[in-house]
């Protein structure tokens, strides 16, 4: 792409495989979680990543921050190679990319006070003295809508939504350039989810960080994203603006996802319901991974994989949908 601005995150042909236990007399098999993903995120941009469970979206995020092992491919953060650094050299750079996790119950240490949970990244990174760090913690707590006095409390004293605010505060305290939110609002009730989505929008406006926003909920992704990527069995199958991807979907899988969303505003509509389930990532099919469920699949789709092509609106499909859905 001809973007003159250097992307905050550049991922090139990233592959992640997890080895399975070897069975006697058989070659070792792998779970092909991420199968050659390339994407860019521009400064200040939010890229939404949609996909169903097991499609590899969480593994992709974890590999980007080096919490999952990279099998091959490259990751550049603000132009600097990041995929091949040893942990010793990675650590001072880690503040640039921070993660918010899905489960606000298991991602906070129940025995640590909130102030300590948020201060810890500063200690690890040797930032400031004790007083400075605590001032920072108080400031960040206020930014996420909590009270500085909350620093003395424990996680169990907070509701799910408040805990997610704490998780966001912990991610923000190092002033990252890139925030990776993995199903950050999925465990929350709808009224609380709205509060957290608005908070993320406010923080983004103030701090101008980039975001990789992962969710299985297309309605949430549409709400927050500048661009959207759709993932299926370890690969990006469609990528572009929300308008392009959701309103003018070109990949049959994206279309099926869009039509599957239960919607208040489209009661009684008729929709095409996709049959079957995604194939196993242990033995990905040779051709297009979606071919087995695809209403448009031809012989070629079962033998030859489709590559992501296009400029602003990219699709990986031999027979993409055209404008007229007729």
């Amino acid at each position: 792409m001809n973007d003159p601005v250097q992307p905050i995150l550049a991922v090139r042909n990233l592959t992640v495989q997890f080895p399975l236990r070897r069975r006697p007399g058989q070659p070792r098999r792998h779970v092909h979680a991420v199968r050659g993903v390339s994407l860019d995120i521009a400064p200040g941009e939010t890229l939404g990543l949609i996909g169903e469970s097991g499609c590899g979206k969480s593994t992709l995020a974890r590999a980007i921050v080096r919490l999952a092992p990279i099998t091959s491919g490259e990751v550049y953060l603000a132009g600097n190679p990041w995929h091949n650094l040893p942990e010793r050299r990675l650590r001072p750079l880690r503040p640039a990319a921070q993660m918010i996790f899905q489960d606000p119950w298991s991602s906070l240490n129940p025995r640590m006070r909130i102030g300590r949970i948020i201060e810890e990244p500063l200690i690890v990174q040797k930032r400031g003295d004790r007083d400075e760090r605590q001032a920072t913690v108080a400031r960040v707590l206020e930014q996420v809508g909590l009270h500085p006095d909350d620093a003395g409390k424990y996680p169990h004293q907070f509701s799910g939504g408040q805990r997610q605010r704490i998780g966001i505060a912990r991610a923000l305290v190092l002033e990252p350039q890139l925030l990776l939110a993995d199903e950050a609002v999925s465990a929350l009730d709808v009224s609380v989810q709205a509060q957290i989505l608005n908070l993320l929008a406010d923080l983004r406006a103030e701090h101008r960080f980039s975001m990789l926003f992962i969710s299985h909920d297309l309605r949430v992704v549409e709400q927050v994203s500048d661009r959207i990527a759709v993932m299926y069995l370890g690969k990006i199958v469609e990528l572009g603006s929300p308008e392009d991807v959701l309103d003018h979907s070109r990949h049959p899988y994206t279309r099926a996802l869009v039509e599957a969303v239960p919607e208040i505003d489209a009661r009684g509509r008729r929709r095409v319901i996709l049959g079957g389930e995604p194939p196993s990532p242990i033995n990905p099919p040779r051709g297009c991974a979606f071919a087995g469920r695809c209403p448009r699949a031809q012989d070629r789709c079962h033998t030859e994989d489709a590559v992501l092509t296009g400029d602003d609106h990219q699709v990986a499909c031999h027979y993409p949908l055209t404008e007229d859905p007729g």
């Binding site: 709205a194 549409e222 309103d247 996802l257 599957a260 239960p262 919607e263 009661r267 319901i273 996709l274």
Partner: protein
């Protein structure tokens, strides 16, 4: 006559301290063949209501002297466990949220499917096996005879939930209670399961109580809707009444805070504050502390009142809420 009818039903969880009134005076009825959705956020008491309707809540009749719960005209609060066992699985089926924990992991699918027929004496083994295969075919499982020999761990989440539905409906119950049956599923699989439930309902004229937090699912499925908040029903009516002309500020807030298609970047409406814990519920309207329209009148307990035929709301100022909605 309603198939299931609750009046001022109270269900209590005993705790070490004061008991928790999870269901606190609920009026709800389901007619023969009707799909009723019970909507609410975590902790509102919707699952506790489902358990009560299955006779699975810990408390007995003593806990709710004023409550009534009738199934097919019978006072179920008088039923003993033996009577419940004769009803559960035969006249009332149930599907739970998590298909992995509700199937027995060490028993083959076929045995689990045939069990209700055998327990209720509705079939002999040969006949039960035939019916089990039919039930699996009905829920869209390919090669159903081979599925009988499988164990739950060999199946995907969607397949497990299909098996659960096959078990819950194998005796052709008159009422199916489904507690968040699609929440753990992916959206394309969820769409398959919702379509399946709608088909089963149409074919067998089965009534369904569908419990969910997802208003989009409600819109796909419901004939009528009940909205629950802090143990009480705060609004009920047809799908169109509740979704198009919500009378309760909480219903409105829920509808407005949900992200919808084609509203990118728009700021979401948020309901201020949080749900009060069971022991700190206000004596008046329970939503009042979070309500933009609350005043002194809301400090008294509020009863359900009619807004229109079949549309009730537990609010003193439904007109205020609705004039806001029109803006």
């Amino acid at each position: 006559m309603a198939l299931l009818e609750a009046e001022q039903l109270v269900s209590v969880f005993p705790t070490q301290g004061e008991p928790v009134r999870a269901v606190d005076g609920v009026d709800l009825h389901i007619d023969e063949g009707e799909t009723v959705c019970l909507v609410g956020e975590s902790g509102c008491g919707k699952s506790a209501f489902a358990l009560s309707a299955m006779g699975l809540m810990p408390s007995g009749r003593d806990a709710h002297p004023n409550g009534r719960l009738h199934f097919d005209g019978e006072d179920v609060l008088k039923w003993d466990e033996q009577r419940w066992c004769a009803i559960r699985g035969r006249d009332i089926g149930m599907i739970f949220q998590e298909p992995m924990t509700s199937l027995n992991p060490v028993i083959r699918v076929g045995t689990q499917l045939m069990e209700p027929l055998l327990i209720h004496g509705l079939a002999n083994r040969t006949d039960a096996r035939r019916q089990a295969i039919e039930a699996l075919a009905r829920v869209g499982i390919p090669q159903p005879d081979r599925m009988l020999e499988r164990y739950p761990h060999e199946l995907s989440g969607g397949m497990r939930q299909r098996v659960m539905i096959a078990i819950a409906t194998i005796c052709r119950p008159r009422l199916l209670i489904a507690d968040e049956p699609t929440t753990a599923l992916d959206v394309t699989v969820e769409a398959q399961i919702l379509e399946l439930l709608a088909d089963l309902k149409q074919q067998h004229g089965m009534a369904m109580l569908f419990i969910t937090h997802d208003l989009g699912v409600v819109a796909e499925l419901a004939d009528r809707v009940y909205v629950m908040y802090a143990g009480q029903i705060v609004e009920s009516g047809t799908l169109a009444q509740v979704f198009d002309q919500p009378g309760h500020p909480y219903t409105q807030g829920l509808l407005r805070s949900m992200p919808r298609r084609h509203q990118r970047g728009r700021r979401l409406y948020t309901i201020p504050g949080t749900v009060p814990p069971p022991h700190q519920r206000p004596s008046g309207c329970r939503f009042a502390p979070r309500c933009p329209y609350a005043d002194a009148a809301c400090e008294q307990p509020v009863t359900l009142r009619d807004l229109a035929a079949g549309h009730t709301v537990r609010c003193v100022h439904p007109d205020r809420a609705r004039s806001q909605q029109d803006e």
